[in-house]
Amino acid sequence: MSVDTLPISIGFGGGAELLFGNKKNFAISLPVQEITKWQISDLLKWIQDNLLKERPELFIQDNSVRPGILVLINDVDWELMDTINYVIQPNDEIVFISTLHGG
């Protein structure tokens, strides 16, 4: 692992991938020069700036994900991991699943 990046993988499912050009998995490296402790809230901003092309309101709301989007960190519900405050570790797998079902 290189010292100046934080490699992680992020995934989108349940329809969330539709906001990311229908791509489900991304291997990314987060820069650690400015931010040394990356929290999920920082990652959300990074996603908004770098990956999210259209309709950000369907993904981000008030510093967090929009209600109805589930987040798993290494297959663990982020509500067990302090949600947006979780400090990201190298090689973490972070998955966003949309549950916004119509009726």
């Binding site: 349940g14 329809g15 589930l70 798993l72 663990v76 509500e79 067990l80 998955v95 079902h101 009726g103």
Partner: protein
């Protein structure tokens, strides 16, 4: 006996609890009390992955076991609506059918996909229908496709519009117009939504009968049940609540409707799908204007409340479960929604009073008669049965039906 999601303490609070933040740093699964939890349900109950998955399947089977509406070898119509709920339901069924134990599922599911995504373009609609077809094939279920607009324009020839292959499903850009043509254009969106809802229900029942199914499974989740209940209240459909939201809807003499997912949240099923590597058919629906219809407003109200008060849905569903029908069983059904219509009763209820008031205010006074004579004439000519083709609420929307 306890299972996933049933651990909510009913006695705990008189009022709904606001969302609380708990610390789960050293928490263990509340079921096995051994493994580290991976899922938290209802905002407070931690489960390990194994206990979560087995509890979810158990909850589905428990509901089927408790309500023996399906006999072995009978066919069951599964109403596929795309999304997590449909995918999870199909997986529950496939897993149950493939068992070699006495708990094996012994009925025969057939999927019905009613295409009605009229707000999308033809290409997207075709793509979604194909994905549904692929899912049915992957999980090895027979499936039929029907375009709701085709049914609405030609109700008499059902076999010609029920297709076994997705390639035969006709999707037209003007389907939206066809649906609208069935409802008068001076009606509100609330009325249009109601009427289309009952057309869909009617179609589903006809397809079930056409395919020899005695039962229909819906994919309604707790939130759908709660929202239907509030819609019924706001639209003056108190009598429909038991039928529209109960576990079993036995309104139809031949086909019963079961709602096997009504005790689930979308989170449970989305995580069930995730852990089982299932990708549901998904697409973004157009955002609805919450103020354009009563139904949309109810949905927004519930969704907003649910974010801060996670007990909202279960509170509404449980309250609804306490309601029952205590009318005399009646043979007369409402022509549209098919609920039994109350028989002639001695005293007038609020529906009859409204009918009477509507009727009397549209009569011309005969001024040459005395007040007493007029009164007795009015009472003799008021015919409440005139309103008896429909239930109270359908009487309000029936004038907008184009026959």
């Amino acid at each position: 006996m306890c299972s996933v999601g049933d651990d909510v303490d009913e006695e705990k609070a008189k009022f709904m609890q606001k969302k609380i933040t708990l610390n789960f740093t050293n928490a263990l699964c509340i079921k096995c009390r051994t493994l580290k939890p991976q899922v938290i349900l209802h905002n407070q109950y931690p489960y390990c992955k194994a206990c979560f998955l087995s509890g979810t399947v158990h909850k589905f089977k428990a509901l089927l076991g408790k309500n023996r509406v399906v006999q072995p070898n009978e066919s069951v119509l599964i109403h596929h609506k795309a999304g997590h709920a449909s995918t999870a339901l199909l997986h529950f069924l496939r897993t149950g059918l493939d068992l070699n134990t006495p708990k094996k599922i012994r009925f025969k599911p057939i999927i019905a996909y009613i295409e009605d995504n009229y707000e999308l373009n033809v290409e997207d609609r075709t793509h979604i229908s194909r994905q549904v077809s692929d899912e049915a094939e992957r999980l090895n279920f027979p499936i039929v496709f029907i375009n709701l607009a085709q049914y609405v324009t030609n109700k008499s020839n059902l076999p010609s519009i029920v297709h076994e292959k997705v390639e035969d499903l006709r999707i037209d850009p003007d389907d939206n117009m066809k649906i609208r043509a069935a409802v008068k254009s001076n009606s509100t969106l609330t009325t249009q939504t109601e009427i289309v809802h009952y057309f869909e229900r009617e179609l589903l029942l006809k397809v079930a009968k056409h395919l020899g199914c005695q039962c229909i499974f819906t994919t309604d989740l707790g939130i759908d049940i709660a929202s239907q209940l509030l819609k019924n209240v706001t639209l003056g459909r108190g009598e429909n609540i038991v039928y529209d939201t109960g576990v079993v809807d036995s309104r139809d003499m031949d086909v019963s409707v079961l709602r096997p997912l009504r005790n689930f949240t979308i989170k449970e099923l989305a995580l069930y799908n995730y852990f089982n590597h299932l990708e549901p058919v998904s697409f973004y629906r157009k955002t609805k204007n919450p103020y354009s219809s009563m139904q949309n407003l109810v949905e927004k109200f519930l969704a907003d409340l649910h974010v801060n008060y996670p007990a909202t849905i279960s509170t509404i569903v449980r309250t609804g479960d306490k309601l029952g029908v205590n009318n005399e069983p009646s043979e007369d059904r409402c022509m549209l929604c098919k609920v039994p219509i109350r028989k002639e009763i001695e005293s007038l209820g609020s529906a009859e009073a409204t009918n009477f008031s509507h009727w009397i205010s549209t009569q011309t006074r005969s001024c040459d008669k005395s007040l007493k004579e007029r009164t007795s004439q009015i009472l003799a000519t008021f015919d409440n049965n005139k309103y008896n083709k429909y239930c109270y609420s359908c009487n309000q929307i029936a004038p907008y039906l184009c026959q």
